[in-house]
Subunit: 231 residues, 2 copies
């Protein structure tokens, strides 16, 4: 069993109810294999934490930016989507703490991404209940709103494929193309690796469980890392 | 111009910044015809108020009910959807306060429903900023969460057509039928009146801008008002 006191140390939090912290990391699949009296899965905490996260991010954007509601909505979406939250979870080593069934723990693809993102929301719910609004606010500012400058700079709130197309069009007067480089795995669990190109030059690769997802990641990687694009 | 001090009296609120209260009622169409320096439309307040409403309702449900997250989510949806919020707006006579363009004020159908619902969210945003969380909490408890018993009793969180079908099936062993009774208005702004029947007996009527909407309202009215159904 994971040592949650290390996690508390890492997060610089001290829970009054340690069980609540643990609950935030319990996926429903875990309880099927490990029924434990008094231990519930994290879905109700996630229900609460999602709303706490939404309000704290919304209020921050409202107070700090005069932009129209439509823009703030898309910035917020980029901050609270499962991609961003799962990357926050990975930064905080949540993979070491999440409690899953043996079967579920094999799957490290898209399903895990959702599980990690949900654990972040559940943890926010647990902080809010156990330690109050101010601590939830601090956690969200430190670990989620801290990504806002990158979201704005790299325009992560925009669909990456259309944004890359605009950038490439502007710089080179042509349209980037996508090509499937690899397709592996059984039908119900395929993985695609896609490359994005300017003419014949590979800008970046992306991986996903379908072509569209792999293309989006490739576009995002090109925007983030290709020296030819350089945002 | 509407007298917003009457509205404050009615809502038992006293705004420090009266302009913020007014802003909650300004639809973007109004500013096109009545540009006023310092007066903005209500969309940013709505962006904020929507998140405040979501958290306060979520926290209330979380604290008062042990039900699984999926159920709480559907109850919440029934409390914060535009149908419920526009009916709250009508109870509070928001039609007397909402500031619209002349064109927009002609339309009293579905578009108005959204405008009224958005004004409720914008007002919640304005209360939250100007008067704080406790007053927002009080407003939401008095005017929105007050509908929770009816939502639960009448199972308003369920699709009304399938719920009515279940009730009629159970009581009479048959399926209710729907019939269009009236279809009026030009193509771009049709109104349908639909009746819902058990065999040849009319249970209730419903009105809507398309058949589906009119059927749903008819089903809802049957559940709410028909002595044959009596939930």
């Amino acid at each position: 069993m994971s040592d949650f006191s290390k996690l508390e140390e890492k997060l610089n939090l001290s829970f009054k109810n340690k069980n609540l912290l643990k609950q935030a990391f319990v996926h429903r699949s875990f309880l099927n294999e490990n029924p434990a009296p008094g231990l519930d899965h994290n879905e109700r905490l996630e229900f609460l934490g999602d709303a706490v996260l939404e309000l704290i991010v919304t209020e921050y954007l409202y107070n700090n930016y005069d932009n129209p509601e439509g823009e703030l909505t898309s910035w917020r979406a980029a901050l609270v989507n499962s991609k961003m939250l799962s990357s926050v979870a990975k930064e905080l080593s949540f993979n070491d703490y999440i409690l899953l069934s043996k079967g579920e723990s094999q799957d490290v693809g898209r399903a895990r991404q959702y599980i990690l993102a949900n654990a972040v929301e559940a943890l926010i719910g647990a902080i809010y209940i156990d330690l109050g609004t101010d601590e939830a606010d601090k956690f969200i500012k430190n670990h989620i709103l801290s990504h806002l400058p990158a979201v704005l700079e790299k325009k992560l709130y925009r669909d990456p494929k259309s944004y890359l197309q605009e950038l490439v069009q502007e710089k080179f007067g042509i349209t980037p193309t996508y090509e499937v480089l690899e397709e592996t795995g059984p039908d119900h669990a395929k993985t695609f690796i896609v490359g994005v190109y300017i003419e014949k030059e590979l800008l970046a690769k992306g991986k996903g469980s379908n072509k569209q997802e792999a293309q989006e990641e490739a576009a995002r990687n090109a925007i983030d890392t290709s020296p030819k694009i350089g945002v």
